[in-house]
Amino acid sequence: MKGIITTIFFISISINVFAKNMHNQYLKKDSTPTLLTFKQLEPYLTTNSDSVFIINFWATWCGPCVAELPYFEKLTADLKGQKAKVVLVSLDFKSHIQTKLLPFLKKRRLQSEVVVLVEKNPNDWIPKVHEEWSGSIPATLIFDKNKRQFYEQSFEKYKDLKEIVSPFIPINN
């Protein structure tokens, strides 16, 4: 009897974990998003592969960022099966990760990969993302192994985002 209960218990845990991973691939098992220092983020910002990367810098506190998130989500969906990846880099305050970012991610069930940059002195890392970036968000970096484009702006429509991505890779929709 005890064995059965234990088995059911473990099965339910694994289903739970599995479900979480399905919905929130960016969440670890303990439901915390991946926190990265800039050094750990840097590999996300260059590539030698044949893939295209769309890196969006955002935060839950940034209205225009939240407003354009659905476009990045649509991009993730439309690029499915292609050599392309959307990464949403949250710049939320460290003190807001548990209280604001996590609930936001749970509610939105974002399909794009989300990482959180936890780093001090922005004067050190902002220019390494792009020389022209003043530091305002939203900001979006698109690159493959040959070229690199940076946009310190928000996208008002999906069409606007599509327009800057399509020179890199054809979009399904």
């Binding site: 940034c62 225009p64 305050f93 003190s95 003043s134």
Partner: protein
């Protein structure tokens, strides 16, 4: 002849305006133009209204942006520390209230009152001043010397998240340099902030 001179002057101006950088605003070493903007007390404020100052700490900031909020007390502290030494803070809200409701003139007034801002808190109603400076976010700081020459552009310090964990106070260092007649080093820093909410045309 007179007409000819006028026309050639006009042509020269037009030509010059095309060769000048279109955007980006002031660079280090540029002289800032004065402005005349409405303060939260209803009075108009210009830099020339300040007598006997050694410089200006112009801060583009606002009510609603969490980064501006994180720095609010530090901006107050900057003024309290440096205004008496000749370097007052001049806060300017650059946002279009139609796009950022927390940044309306009314709400600026109540915030200034509530937090007893010791400095002026001006509204860039026509959104003509922040592009001249080249401000892109809140908060965005421009330290000018007494001749309105731009000496420092950038962030306040190196840790928005935690004032107690700051290791480099960029603006304070810049002013300390100016006080001894030196150019700030660094004179240009990058910082995270909220994009300025610009009226859509």
């Amino acid at each position: 002849m007179n007409k000819f001179i006028k026309i050639s002057l006009f042509a020269a101006c037009v030509a010059l305006s095309f060769t000048l950088p279109k955007s980006g605003g002031y660079q280090i070493g540029d002289t800032a133009e004065d402005f005349n903007l409405k303060n939260v007390d209803g009075k108009m404020v210009a830099l020339k209204d300040y007598n006997n100052v050694k410089g200006y700490i112009v801060v583009f900031t606002c009510n609603g942006c969490p980064y501006a909020q994180a720095y609010e007390q530090r901006i107050i502290n900057l003024h309290n520390k440096y205004a008496s030494q000749g370097y007052p803070v001049i806060a300017i809200n650059p946002n279009d209230p139609n796009l950022a409701s927390a940044d309306s003139y009314d709400k600026m007034q109540s915030r200034a009152k509530q937090k007893k801002y010791p400095y002026v808190y001006l509204i860039d109603e026509k959104q003509e001043i922040f592009p001249k400076f080249g401000a892109t976010r809140t908060p965005h700081v421009f330290v000018l010397d007494k001749n309105k020459v731009v000496k420092y552009i950038g962030g306040i310090d190196d840790n928005a998240d935690d004032a107690s964990a700051v290791t480099i106070k960029y603006v304070e260092n810049a002013i300390e340099s100016l006080k001894v007649g030196k150019n700030p080093e660094p004179s240009l820093t990058k910082a995270v902030g909220c994009s300025i909410k610009k009226k859509r045309v």
